[in-house]
C-alpha cells in the first residue's frame, strides 16, 4: 500500500463525501397511506360486476368465468328471474350468489376475457385490500356488484337532469327495499 492508502484518511474522506451526497439525494420512498404510486393502466385489481345502462346486473350466471378461472376462485349459483324483477337483472337468468375468493384469485383477468356479457371486470385502480380474517377475503355480490347511483350512470354518458336523477333514486331505493 502507498502511504496515502495506509494513512486511511483520504479513503475515509472519500467515503464520507459519497455518503454525504446520498444524504441530500431525493428519496425514492413513497409514504404509502398518504402517497400512492399511480397504477399502470393495464393493472388488474379488484373485480367488479357491472350493471348495464339501466342499472340492471349484466351477469347471467353462465359460469364461463368460473370455468376459465385457473385458480378456481369463482363460485356462483344461478337462478331464474321472476316477474317484476326485470329492472334488476338484464336476462332471464341471473346469479343468486356470486363469490370470488381473493386468496385464491391470481388476478390473471381470464374471467374478464371469458365473460360474454361484459359483466366482470378487474378494476385498474383498486386493489383487494389486506384483511385479518380468511372469510373476509370471500367477496360476495354485496361487495362485487357495482353500486347503483345516478352519478355512476352519468359517468357512462347518460346525462340526467336533477329531476330524473331524483326519480331514479326513489326507484332504486324502492327496488332495494
Amino acid at each position: 500500500m502507498t502511504l496515502a492508502e495506509r494513512a486511511y484518511l483520504p479513503a475515509i474522506f472519500q467515503g464520507l463525501s459519497i455518503t454525504m451526497r446520498h444524504f441530500f439525494k431525493k428519496k425514492p420512498t413513497i409514504r404509502y397511506p398518504e402517497e400512492q404510486r399511480p397504477f399502470s393502466p393495464v393493472f388488474r385489481g379488484l373485480h367488479v360486476l357491472k350493471r348495464d345502462e339501466q342499472g340492471r346486473e349484466r351477469c347471467t350466471a353462465c359460469g364461463l368465468c368460473a370455468v376459465a378461472c385457473p385458480a378456481e376462485a369463482i363460485t356462483m349459483v344461478a337462478g331464474e328471474r321472476k316477474k317484476g324483477e326485470e329492472g334488476l337483472y338484464r336476462e332471464e337468468k341471473y346469479a343468486i350468489s356470486y363469490e370470488i375468493n381473493m386468496l385464491r384469485c391470481i388476478f390473471c383477468g381470464l374471467c374478464e376475457e371469458a365473460c360474454p356479457k361484459a359483466a366482470v371486470y378487474l378494476q385498474a385502480d383498486k386493489m383487494a385490500p389486506p384483511r385479518f380474517e380468511r372469510d373476509e377475503f370471500i367477496y360476495g355480490k354485496d361487495r362485487l356488484v357495482e353500486p347503483v347511483s345516478p352519478d355512476n350512470r352519468s359517468k357512462r354518458g347518460i346525462q340526467l337532469t336533477e329531476e330524473q336523477a331524483q326519480q331514479l333514486r326513489t326507484k332504486v331505493d324502492a327496488q332495494l327495499a
Binding site: 475515509i12 464520507l16 454525504m20 446520498h22 444524504f23 439525494k25 428519496k27
Partner: protein
C-alpha cells in the same frame, strides 16, 4: 460570588445537564435512525408523531414493557449492576463540562457549569475509563462466551486507545497549562481572533483524539465489543428490556460527552467568533448595559456550544454509516503502532513549537 445561592444554582445546573443528557441521548436514537436512513436514500421512522418525533417515546415504552430475561447461571446482582454502572459513569462525566460562560444578575454571578474543578479534564477521563467496567461486569455476569468475548474486547480496546488519547491530551495541556475545562475554554477566547481555537494549534492532536473518541465510545468503525457479525450482540447479547436500553443509552450519553469534550478542547467551547466585538458594539452603539450584553453572548455561546456538540454527534453517526468495522488485529495495530507513536510525535512537535516560540505555552494575555 455568593456561596449559598451558588450551591443551589449548581444543583439546578446539574439537574438540567442530567435531563439534557438524557433528552439528547433519547433523540440520538431517533437521529441515528433518520441519519442512517438519509445516508441510505431512505426516509427513516416517520410514523410516530410529526416526522416520527415521538419514536423515542415509543421505543422507550417498548423497552420498558419487554420481558426481563436472566440467563441461567448468570450472576444476578452483577448482571443488574453492569448496565447501572455503565449509565451512571456516562452521566457523571458531564458535570464538569462548561456549557456556557457567566450569567450576571445584579451582584450575583451564575456559571453555566455543574462543578468547576481545577482537574476537570482528569475527572472526565477518570469517569469515562470507569465506564468500561459497566461493560466488563455485564459481559462477565452474563455467563455467555460471546458476552465475555465482547467484554474482553471492550476492555482491551479502551485501555489501548486511552493511551493514545491521554498522550494527545498532553499536547493540549502543554499549550494551556491547566486541567480546568473552563480555563481551557476561556483561553481560546482571545478577543478578535476566532482562530485562537486549539484546533489551529493542535490539528494532529485533534485527529488522534477524534479517532480515540470513536474507539472509547465503541462506535463504528471500532464497535468490536458489540460486533453483530461475530459476537451475536457482544457484551449485551444476554440483555433484554430496559437493561439493554441502558447500555444503548449510555453509549449515546458517552457520545454526547465525547462531543462536548472535543468542542471544549479543540473548538473553543462556548466561544464564538467576534463575541467581544458583538458585546462592545451592543454596549457602545445600542445602549446595552455591559452585563446585559455579556448575558446575551453567554446565551448565544451556550446555544452555539450545543450546535458544536450536535455537529460532532452528527459526525459520529455519519462515520458510523460510512465505514465498515475494523478487524480486531487491525484495531490493535492502529492503536499501538500508529496512534501512540503519532501522539508522542505530536507532543515532541508541540514542545518544539513552544521552544521556538511559534505557539506560546500559555496565552500571554491569560497570564496578565
Amino acid at each position: 460570588m455568593l456561596e449559598l445561592p451558588a450551591l443551589g444554582w449548581q444543583s439546578i445546573v446539574i439537574f438540567v445537564v442530567f435531563a439534557l443528557s438524557l433528552l439528547i441521548a433519547t433523540y440520538c436514537t431517533y437521529a441515528e435512525r433518520v441519519i442512517a436512513a438519509f445516508l441510505q436514500d431512505r426516509v427513516g421512522p416517520d410514523r410516530a408523531g410529526p416526522y416520527g418525533l415521538a419514536q423515542p417515546l415509543a421505543d422507550a415504552v417498548k423497552m420498558f414493557t419487554k420481558e426481563e430475561f436472566f440467563p441461567s447461571g448468570a450472576n444476578t446482582a452483577l448482571f443488574i449492576f453492569g448496565p447501572c454502572l455503565a449509565m451512571i459513569m456516562a452521566l457523571m462525566s458531564s458535570a464538569v463540562i462548561p456549557f456556557g460562560n457567566v450569567l450576571s444578575f445584579g451582584t450575583n454571578y451564575f456559571f453555566l457549569q455543574g462543578i468547576e474543578v481545577n482537574i476537570g479534564l482528569l475527572w472526565v477521563f477518570g469517569v469515562v475509563s470507569l465506564g468500561v467496567y459497566g461493560i466488563m461486569i455485564g459481559g462477565w455476569a452474563s455467563n455467555n462466551k460471546f458476552s465475555l468475548l465482547g467484554a474482553v474486547r471492550a476492555a482491551s480496546q479502551n485501555i489501548s486507545y486511552e493511551l493514545a488519547m491521554g498522550l494527545s491530551l498532553i499536547a493540549v495541556l502543554m499549550i494551556s497549562g491547566t486541567l480546568s475545562l473552563r480555563d481551557i475554554t476561556l483561553q481560546q477566547s482571545m478577543p478578535g481572533e476566532w482562530h485562537f481555537w486549539n484546533i489551529v494549534k493542535q490539528p494532529l492532536g485533534f485527529i488522534i483524539f477524534l479517532v480515540c473518541a470513536f474507539a472509547e465510545t465503541n462506535r463504528t468503525p471500532f464497535d468490536l465489543p458489540e460486533c453483530e457479525t461475530e459476537l451475536v450482540g457482544g457484551y449485551h447479547t444476554e440483555y433484554s428490556s430496559m437493561k439493554l436500553g441502558l447500555y444503548l443509552f449510555s453509549e449515546y450519553v458517552n457520545i454526547f460527552v465525547a462531543s462536548a469534550v472535543m468542542s471544549v478542547l479543540y473548538f473553543g467551547g462556548f466561544n464564538f467568533p467576534f463575541q467581544y466585538e458583538l458585546r462592545d458594539w451592543l454596549v457602545s452603539s445600542q445602549d446595552w448595559t455591559l452585563a446585559g450584553a455579556q448575558n446575551l453572548i453567554t446565551i448565544l455561546g451556550t446555544v452555539l456550544f450545543f450546535g458544536k456538540i450536535f455537529a460532532f454527534i452528527f459526525f459520529f453517526m455519519w462515520v458510523r454509516w460510512t465505514l465498515p468495522r475494523f478487524r480486531y488485529d487491525q484495531l490493535m495495530r492502529l492503536g499501538w503502532t500508529i496512534l501512540i507513536p503519532l501522539s508522542i510525535f505530536n507532543i515532541l512537535l508541540t514542545g518544539g513549537l513552544i521552544t521556538f516560540g511559534v505557539i506560546s505555552e500559555v496565552p500571554s494575555w491569560w497570564l496578565n
